[in-house]
C-alpha cells in the first residue's frame, strides 16, 4: 500500500515567479503589492453604503477612481466597481462591506486571487500600453486618476492612471505573463523618445 501523501505546506506560486521584469530609465514594470480585491455590483443606494463602509466614495460614472491611503474604488460599469485594499487581508475588508450592504441587494465577490496588479512607470509606459491598448492615453482623454476597464492585446485589463507617467494595470493571473512579455517587447522596440 502506498504511503499517504505528506501534508507539508506548499508555497503559493505567483504567475510571474522567475519572470524577468523590465526595468530601465524609460520604462519599469513591477508587481503591485498584494491586495484584497472585490467586485461589487449594486444600485446607487448600495454604492453609497459601500462607499461609507469602505472609506473611499465609489465613483458614480466613468472618470477618476476614488482613492485613499491604501484603498481605491474603480468604476467598471454603471452598477459595477472594483474595490482594492492594498496590503489588507480580504476577510477584514469583506466583513465591513457585508455588514454595510446587508440591507441592499448586491453582489460582492472576492477576486483577490483572480488577478494581479502591475505597476508601470516611466516616459515609455504610455507608449508600451498603446502597443496593445487602443484607448487614447493623452492627458485630455485619459487624465491622471482616470480608471477604466479596457483591452490590452487579447487580454482584458483594468487600467488606472496613477500619475503623469505611472499606470496601474489589473490583469487576470493567467494572462499576466502574456501581458508582461507584450509590454516588455513593446517598450524595448519603441523608437527612442
Amino acid at each position: 500500500m502506498p504511503s499517504p501523501p505528506s501534508t507539508t505546506a506548499v508555497a503559493r506560486r505567483g504567475p510571474l515567479d522567475g519572470q524577468r521584469l523590465p526595468g530601465g530609465a524609460s520604462f519599469t514594470l513591477g508587481l503591485a503589492p498584494a491586495a484584497a480585491r472585490f467586485i461589487l455590483r449594486g444600485d446607487a443606494a448600495a454604492r453609497t453604503a459601500a462607499g461609507a463602509a469602505f472609506g473611499v466614495a465609489l465613483p458614480a460614472r466613468l472618470g477618476p477612481a476614488g482613492s485613499g491611503a491604501a484603498r481605491a474604488a474603480l468604476w467598471l460599469g454603471p452598477d459595477e466597481w472594483l474595490l482594492v485594499g492594498e496590503g489588507e487581508p480580504p476577510a477584514d475588508l469583506e466583513r465591513g462591506l457585508v455588514a454595510a450592504l446587508s440591507m441592499h441587494p448586491h453582489s460582492l465577490v472576492d477576486v483577490s486571487q483572480r488577478q494581479i496588479g502591475l505597476d508601470l512607470a516611466g516616459p515609455l509606459a504610455a507608449r508600451a500600453l498603446n502597443a496593445g491598448c487602443p484607448l487614447d492615453l493623452r492627458d485630455q482623454a485619459f487624465p491622471v486618476g482616470m480608471a477604466s476597464r479596457t483591452l490590452f492585446a487579447k487580454s482584458e485589463i483594468v487600467l488606472w492612471r496613477r500619475g503623469a507617467l505611472r499606470y496601474h494595470v489589473e490583469v487576470g493571473r493567467s494572462f499576466a505573463q502574456y501581458v508582461v512579455n507584450h509590454l516588455d517587447e513593446a517598450a524595448r522596440r519603441a523608437p527612442p523618445l
Binding site: 467598471l76 460599469g77 484607448l135 476597464r149 483591452l151
Partner: protein, 101 residues
C-alpha cells in the same frame, strides 16, 4: 478603427472593445402561446437587412459591459447615434450623438 460613443461610459471608445448584438427593438410577442409556427419563426429568425440606416444592439464588452442601441448606416458604416437600451430610436435625421468616423 471606428470610434463608438458608449452611452453608459459617455465617451468615444475604440471599436475593438465592442461586440455586435444583432437587430435592435425586436419585441417579444406579448402572448407567444397564441402564435402559429410561422409567426413564431418570424419573431425568432427573420431580421431586417436594410441598405441604409439600421438600429442595432451593441455591447461594450471590454468596457462597462452594457448593451446599448445604435443607429448605423450600413452603406457608409457611419454611426449616427447611440442611445441606452430601452430608449426609443432617435430620428436618424437629427444631429448625431454617436461619434462614428
Amino acid at each position: 478603427m471606428l470610434l463608438i460613443r458608449c452611452p453608459y461610459c459617455d465617451m468615444a471608445r475604440p471599436e475593438l472593445e465592442f461586440r455586435y448584438g444583432g437587430q435592435a427593438h425586436v419585441a417579444r410577442p406579448a402572448d407567444p402561446a397564441t402564435l402559429d409556427d410561422a409567426a413564431w419563426g418570424e419573431f425568432l429568425y427573420v431580421r431586417s437587412n436594410p441598405r441604409g440606416v439600421a438600429a442595432e444592439r451593441w455591447r461594450h464588452a471590454a468596457g462597462c459591459g452594457r448593451f446599448f442601441n445604435c443607429l448605423r448606416d450600413t452603406v457608409s458604416d457611419r454611426i449616427l447615434a447611440t442611445y441606452p437600451a430601452g430608449a426609443p430610436a432617435p430620428d436618424p435625421a437629427a444631429p448625431a450623438s454617436g461619434s462614428g468616423r
